[in-house]
């Protein structure tokens, strides 16, 4: 064995058994204050969203009514009309906004982590296009199918108002499963293939949706257009309660996948070498995101751009650590959607702007601004 002189600075020490020097990495201000800041913002957004509208409910009144509902009497004054509007209309709508916003933000961040691409969102794997196709099909073909199959009438009777959401959710799950199945190669999901399969399936679903739109009647066209633009307008407590069971799992589980997603950023084999069950992680990400986005889209229609832009904003503030990006995207998505919805229903009052238009109208320029800013930072 040749002997080598060894420089002292690279000897690998075993750690001391006691009193390890506790130097911790410096946590940036953005990282430290992100989640508390967003939580405060969310409370503010909820109060604003609950208070603003044709019947104004000032913040003290909102607090008074909420505490009263919880059985705490306060001296805060409010009128019965305010209580009725807040409880029956505003609060369910704000709750729906919080849930859907959080779901879209989380799913967006998850997909960006899964595809290791900051431009990914849940639309990429067919969730939105599948939901749209199924919803449009339900709108256009409903009458025809009802006349052909008598049994469908019973189904329609049973589901009632929830026919459209149920069908849309099934469509979302169906297309995503299709994309997932086709992308499997020798027992593994190939992410690059999945992207391309997603593109193809999206195009196919888009074409079918177009075909159905083409044969639709004027009345059906109105429903299709309205559905495609998205709205929180139909919110009521039953809507919120129907959506909640679908979102509990994704909202609680996805934020816990930050650490594995960080490893996935290293590359699939590198993550495997570090003991990460990559296949299972992919299934979790895809399944939970489909659940979250599919259920949301089914209830409120397609709301674009939120899932793409919110994780970007969070990364801008707090860096790429997915443990923060996921939780931050959930809170941030909720804040953005509640505020956007408040704007959508007040900006052209008494009419309402479809929220999908608003998120794209505000989101696209904001996104461009982020891209240009990053470009400038790279150059300097």
């Amino acid at each position: 064995m040749p002997t080598l002189t060894q420089a002292p600075h690279h000897t690998l020490n075993t750690p001391p058994t006691q009193s390890l020097p506790g130097r911790r990495p410096v946590v940036s201000r953005g990282q430290r204050y992100l989640l508390p800041g967003l939580a405060i913002l969310l409370v503010g957004a909820v109060l604003v969203g609950a208070g603003v509208g044709a019947v104004a409910v000032p913040v003290p009144a909102v607090v008074g009514i909420l505490l009263h509902k919880l059985g705490v009497s306060t001296g805060l004054a409010y009128e019965p009309q305010q209580e009725a509007v807040l409880w029956a209309i505003r609060l369910p709508r704000v709750c729906l906004g919080v849930l859907v916003g959080a779901a879209l933000g989380l799913a967006g961040a998850s997909m960006q982590g899964l595809f290791r691409n900051p431009l990914a969102d849940a639309g990429l794997i067919g969730i939105s296009s599948g939901a749209s196709l199924a919803a449009v099909a339900a709108i256009v073909l409903e009458v025809k199918l009802l006349t052909v199959f008598a049994g469908l009438a019973a189904v329609r009777e049973m589901l009632g108002f929830y026919l459209l959401p149920t069908v849309a959710f099934a469509g979302a799950c169906g297309t995503t499963f299709l994309v997932y199945r086709i992308s499997r190669e020798g027992g593994r999901t190939v992410i690059a293939t999945m992207l391309l399969v997603g593109l193809a399936i999206n195009a196919l679903a888009g074409a079918c949706t177009g075909l159905l739109t083409y044969v639709a009647t004027d009345e059906q066209l109105r429903s299709i257009t309205f559905w495609g633009l998205g709205s929180l307008g139909g919110a009521s407590w039953p809507t919120v309660l129907r959506l909640l069971p679908f979102l509990v799992l994704p909202l609680l589980w996805l934020p816990r996948l930050g650490k594995p997603l960080n490893l996935l950023a290293l590359g699939e084999s590198q993550a495997t070498h570090l003991g990460l069950p990559v296949g299972r992680l992919k299934q979790q990400l895809i399944g939970l995101s489909t659940l979250a986005v599919g259920a949301s889209v089914a209830v409120v229609g397609a709301i674009g751009f939120l899932g793409l832009i919110v994780p970007h904003l969070i990364r801008l503030v707090a860096g790429p650590d997915n443990r923060l990006v996921l939780a931050g995207s959930a809170l941030g998505g909720a804040v953005v959607l509640v505020l956007a919805d408040t704007l959508a229903r007040t900006i052209v009052a008494p009419a309402e702007l479809p929220i999908g238009i608003l998120t794209a109208l505000l989101g696209a320029p904001a996104f461009l601004w982020i891209l240009l800013r990053e470009q400038k930072l790279r150059r300097s």
């Binding site: 064995m1 040749p2 080598l4 060894q6 420089a7 600075h9 690279h10 000897t11 690998l12 020490n13 075993t14 750690p15 390890l20 020097p21 506790g22 130097r23 911790r24 990495p25 410096v26 290791r116 650490k259 960080n262 490893l263 950023a265 290293l266 590359g267 084999s269 590198q270 495997t272 070498h273 570090l274 003991g275 990460l276 069950p277 860096g319 790429p320 650590d321």
Partner: protein
């Protein structure tokens, strides 16, 4: 300890690796050498579990590799791959901390922080700990990844390191420095398997050398046994001359000029 028996790997009709057998022990540095496409990386990917052998066996500590839980394996052996795809702006110290992810649930312990710091100072990147990974130069990125791999098995008993061309993109100083680190690990009872291109570095640092040519083992043994003119000609189709090393007991390999007189 890695036990490799009659390992073969095929894709389609192409045989990438054929009938390779050897044993890699803790406390040894095994260099895998060979021409481009000789099957070196394929061998390493079979050892790291990325690929499943067509036939033959890979045993780690007496157990078939496929039967070991990934989490257990992650605490015993670390892999440095050739390509790195990380494009997110993680700070270097968080990248190295990822090597510790198999050890903690939510928050790293003081020991994890200590090891990250030690790994960074080992590869000489302490000053760049807070820098964002994508802003590093190619060689610095390679060293940062090495630090991550070191952190992963830092206090493992008889741990193993699989290094696929760990010297790519490194300057002369850091090439030797990286192999010095590998030797330090070997002294601490680690086993190291490294794919190397420079035969002189392999001669200088390795305990054993495996020479592959077109997927088949040409020679396996100590540097003196493997690095002969005939073997090197079979492996690389090039004529070399072996000179005594001025300072070390290993041979110095000098390629003969093509138009030698």
């Amino acid at each position: 300890m890695f036990d490799i028996e009659n390992l073969s790997y095929q894709t389609g009709r192409k045989t990438l690796l054929q009938q390779v057998s050897f044993r890699a022990r803790p406390g040894e540095l095994l260099a895998v050498v060979g021409a481009n496409g000789a099957g070196k990386s394929t061998l390493l990917r079979l050892l790291s579990g990325d690929l499943t052998p067509t036939s033959g066996l890979v045993h780690f500590d007496g157990q078939p590799l496929g039967e070991l839980p990934a989490a257990t394996l992650a605490r015993r052996r670390a892999v440095l791959t050739q390509q790195h795809t990380l494009s997110l702006a993680f700070p270097v110290e968080e990248l190295v901390m990822m090597g510790r992810y198999p050890y903690f649930q939510n928050q790293p312990t003081a020991l994890d922080h200590w090891i990250v710091e030690a790994a960074l100072s080992t590869v000489g990147l302490s000053a760049l700990a807070r820098r964002s990974y994508p802003t590093l130069s190619g060689g610095e990125q390679q060293r940062a990844q090495l630090a991550r791999v070191l952190a992963q098995v830092w206090e493992a008993q008889e741990g193993f390191l699989l290094l696929d061309e760990p010297l790519t993109g490194l300057d002369l100083h850091h090439q030797h420095h990286t192999l010095d680190i590998a030797r330090d690990l070997v002294l601490r009872g680690f086993g190291v398997i490294a794919v190397l291109h420079d035969l002189n570095l392999a001669a200088q640092y390795a305990d054993r050398i495996l020479l592959l040519a077109q997927g088949q083992p040409v020679a396996y043994g100590s540097p003196d046994q493997v690095l002969t003119c005939e073997n090197i000609h079979r492996g690389f189709q090039i004529d070399v001359q072996l000179l005594p090393h001025p300072h070390l007991s290993c041979p110095l390999i000098v390629p003969c000029p093509r138009r030698a007189v």
